[in-house]
Symmetry: C2
Subunit: 333 residues, 2 copies
């Protein structure tokens, strides 16, 4: 697989340099340690939300830095957790005296390194809370995880909690909201092709000509089973049923429906899946009131899709609707 890169070991660094040039009106990119932060002085009286994880999932998380969302994001090497010093430096740079919330996807390295950074931050007198996102119903434990993996709910939690922080909610309130978003969200995904690591040139796994990895993780880690290709409507139903049953989502629930491309999947396909997913949600009596369709949490160039359902309450809905201005999500401003 050919890719647009120079030296493999410079992929993340050069992409960050590109982001610094392309989005200099919104963000500042700090190098060594690497983090992307909101432009300008950290606003006093507002909680700073910091997230991060391995690179290769763009636009997550760097694309979510800006007004109404993240204060900073820490990109690790490809599919590799950011280091505690990155997280510490980013948190210190953007905290404005009202505390820091770390939103952490449930992967062992991420959890460990964010915890180390949080300990150091606390020693330095900065109030910090950590919320772990673990919304993936596919598997109970996985290659990189004790417990469920964190996937699509991360995007929703960062948007909703970012709006709460922007509105001046306290650290405890923003952390409680984040916990509530995670508890109200469920996701699952599937892959039609593996992804190729640009640092190594290696495919993450192999799939037969007619095979699908059902319940895929965002690093290509195995899901529930290999299945033969099925029509999109069937695959969508196979993803939706375990999601709906797990929470469980109940008749009359108001929901946000998020159909996420894993990288190489076309918008034609995402819209076909969206059509099937909203139709199924309505058939289950769910009231889809908010929607997101696009490739927001990717696995490099993997072809595939994930679906996330979030049960909305009034506060989540109004924070979802609040203005946001980041490289990847912009509305209302």
């Amino acid at each position: 697989m050919k890719q647009l890169r120079n030296q493999p070991e410079k992929v993340v660094a050069e992409a960050l340099e590109g982001m610094a040039l392309a989005y200099g009106d919104l963000v500042e990119v700090h190098r060594d340690p690497n983090y992307i932060r909101r432009k300008g002085i950290p606003p006093a009286g507002k909680v700073a939300i910091v997230s991060g994880g391995g690179s290769g999932h763009e636009p997550m998380h760097g694309g979510f830095v800006g007004h109404g969302m993240l204060a900073a994001a820490c990109p690790g090497a490809i599919f590799t957790s950011p280091t505690p010093d990155q997280i510490l430096a980013a948190s210190q740079a953007v905290q404005g005296g009202s505390g820091v919330l770390h939103i952490v996807k449930n992967y062992t390295g991420d959890v460990l390194n964010f915890q180390l950074a949080a300990d150091l931050l606390q020693e330095a007198g900065v109030a910090v809370r950590q919320v772990i996102i673990d919304d993936d119903v596919a598997v109970q434990d996985s290659l990189y995880t004790a417990g469920r993996r964190g996937v699509g709910a991360t995007v929703l939690a960062e948007k909703i909690c970012g709006a709460a922080a922007e509105a001046g909610a306290s650290l405890d309130a923003v952390a409680a909201l984040c916990t509530s978003v995670n508890a109200s969200a469920r996701s699952m995904g599937l892959a039609l092709s593996p992804c190729t690591n640009p640092e190594t040139g290696q495919a993450s796994f192999t799939l037969g000509e007619n095979e699908i990895e059902f319940g895929i993780g965002i690093h290509g880690e195995p899901g529930r089973q290999r299945i033969p290709w099925q029509p999109a409507d069937t695959l969508t139903e196979m993803l939706m049923l375990p999601i709906v049953e797990d929470l469980p989502f109940k008749k009359g629930d108001e929901v946000l429906l998020f159909v996420n491309g894993l990288g190489a999947t076309t918008l034609l396909e995402l819209n076909i899946v969206y059509r099937a997913a909203e139709t199924l949600a309505s058939r289950h009596g769910l009231k889809v009131s908010r929607r997101l369709v696009g490739s927001y949490m990717t696995s490099l160039d993997m072809a595939g899709v994930s679906i996330t359902l979030l049960r909305l309450d009034e506060s989540m809905r109004s924070y979802w609707d609040a203005p946001v201005c980041t490289p990847a999500l912009r509305w209302g401003l």
Copy 2:
């Protein structure tokens, strides 16, 4: 290549149904004939801009329908021109008495069918102008084209002219602005992989393990030459030089730099190319004042990139900055 679809012949129709559900707050999707139009009554006193072309280039054009951009978009079958009756129906539905501008990419079928629709519109008493976009410097004629192909400048023309129409500029003024954007823009692209037509399951062409199609068209039509893989900085320079020399862009020119993914290319790669492109532009003495990075004009799941440079004047810059609210481009509102 596996894809997320049901029956191949329903790909476009079902994707349109998905768009109708996902973006019902912004657009209405009309079926038979197919078009996507801005929600609500056509504003009186404003020019309606209508575009269209084969499906498979999403989010173009349907994703550009909304406040400050297109009044309607006509999607054909995959890589197939929309029919005159689609274009006529869409134009009639959205015209508010101040005329219609057709923005047409230079492909023989598109030009012919938009011309037929324009003739019928004019017979019906609707003032109509047509601007052909032909910004691709790769080849002088091609498989589907007499003259140069229309590529990335289309996105920029639709944004800039959409803002002018929104501001109440006359049909003649919006058409003149569109002509000026096209005359001030140059583009070229390359492919690292072919794309797969979901209606036929066929790859558009074949490429060797280490080969790149340099000067690719957005339907997979041949470019200038097949070349072996090169580092991203080299490939970017190979694209930038013919673009800069063709207009020619001159030292001191203020430009918008648009790095566009062709479908399966990751944001990591696009940002690496963006970094190289802006660095080269600056080295040529160009002043990059506006930027766009993302997959806005795709070729299904093709891996590759195109670069577009637009020489900005003050009016284009201010229309670029004006609010836009569409499924694919949103800011300032």
